[in-house]
Amino acid sequence: MLEIRHLSKVFFERNDPRRSGLVALHDISFQVQGNEFICLLGPSGCGKTTLIRIAAGLLRADKGEVLVNGRPVIAPGRDRCMVFQNFGLLPWRTVMENVEFGLEIEGGPREERRRICQKYIELVGLQGFESYFPHQISGGMQQRVGIARALSKEPDILLMDEPFGAVDAQTREQLQEELMKIWATTNNTVLFVTHSIDESIYLADRVIVMKPRPGRIREEVKIDLPRPRWAVDVRADPRFAQLRTRIRELLRG
């Protein structure tokens, strides 16, 4: 379980707290239950990426705290894993070596690592591409590598920072559906940052709508669409349209 308590973060000019500062996050609080899929939605500059980076332990908050299973986050840990916006693959490693990266850092027997990684490479549908380099595969496939790498550590919480922002619209829809299928088998807790309204409704149990300057929570929207959402097209559900209108208005207002 993930809990965000009164989180605030200010970016000062040249890191000097005596200078003027930009309030990226202002008093953010919410809770994520186990196995819940939460989307953080908002325009650019509303601090959603900052929030997820604090949750990952890459950034320190100025006020407030992030709790994972009751313990405060101070550094990256093996209970959380991050999927990056620009895939964050290491260009000198093959697909397999990239997926292995997380487990390699932890150590442990190589055979075991290979076995686990092979499982997740197959789960994201990349079998046959293990020895390719990132620049040899498409953006959509690169992000599957990123997802497999995060999943291979079998974390409780998956943090995804606009993972599908850099791929084209059709690939994006395909990846969303695949993520839903994968999530149905792994059942991690997911915190997913996006600026696409449709994406957030399609994926999330709850959408946390944020607004910028200073970054804060505008409202929480519960998405009560039935799962699995890929079998029948939920986008056709009239409730989908209603939710979209509602969220769009929240973003405008």
Binding site: S44, D168, A169, Q170, T194, A236, A241
Partner: protein, 202 residues
């Protein structure tokens, strides 16, 4: 439009065979490609300059266009001072300044985030309403195609063929609320079905 020759077949514009770039056309690309050393206004007036027409005569038209896309007040800013969405608006002005009868848009909103993208789509329809042009718009996004188009030409991948041409008979003016119409959904589903049928076959 005459930039690369066809291997076979031809393109006709106003009953004329296109063999070299034709003049009466405006182009908008995926990235705004503004000249970094020119202000917004100077970028918009670039086509006028290279066509050897009078800058002074066209300056009011340029300002009007800048106003139309909602950039008034930014005409003297440099491109790097503008956000991606604003830069793309300026490049739309640049395409319109010669008052072409044909506007070619190659995934113009592809590099923008989803919210800016929706906003610019609506904006484009408003501009189109005011300055009726023939527009050929290339996109990846199915909802974007249905929202904007009178007709959607669905292509197959490798080799590129026309899979189907779909007439979109949604009433105009359209806006973001158009997306809730049941017909809108039907169009989107139909196109998606065509595209995925292609993928499965391969």
């Amino acid at each position: 439009m005459g930039l690369i020759p066809a291997t076979r077949g031809s393109i006709h514009f106003r009953d004329q065979l296109v063999t070299e770039p034709i003049q009466d056309v405006g182009m908008v690309f995926q990235s705004p490609v503004l000249l970094p050393w020119r202000s917004v206004l100077d970028n918009v007036l670039l086509p006028i300059e290279v066509m050897n027409r009078s800058r002074r005569e066209h300056a009011p038209a340029a300002l009007e266009l800048i106003d139309l896309v909602g950039l008034s007040g930014f005409e003297n800013k440099m491109p790097r001072e503008l956000s991606g969405g604003m830069q793309q608006r300026a490049s739309i002005c640049r395409a319109l300044i010669t008052n072409p009868s044909l506007l070619l848009m190659d995934e113009p909103f592809g590099a923008l985030d989803a919210m800016t993208r929706e906003e610019l789509g609506v904006e484009l329809m408003r501009i189109w309403d005011e300055k009726r042009k023939t527009v050929v718009f290339v996109t990846h996004s199915i909802p974007e195609a249905v929202l904007l188009a009178d007709r959607v030409v669905v292509f197959t991948a490798r080799p590129g063929r026309v899979a189907e041409i779909i007439e979109v008979k949604l009433p105009r003016p359209r806006g973001l609320e158009t997306e809730f119409a049941a017909e809108f959904k039907e169009y989107v589903d139909r196109i998606r079905a065509i595209i995925y049928a292609q993928k499965v076959r391969r």
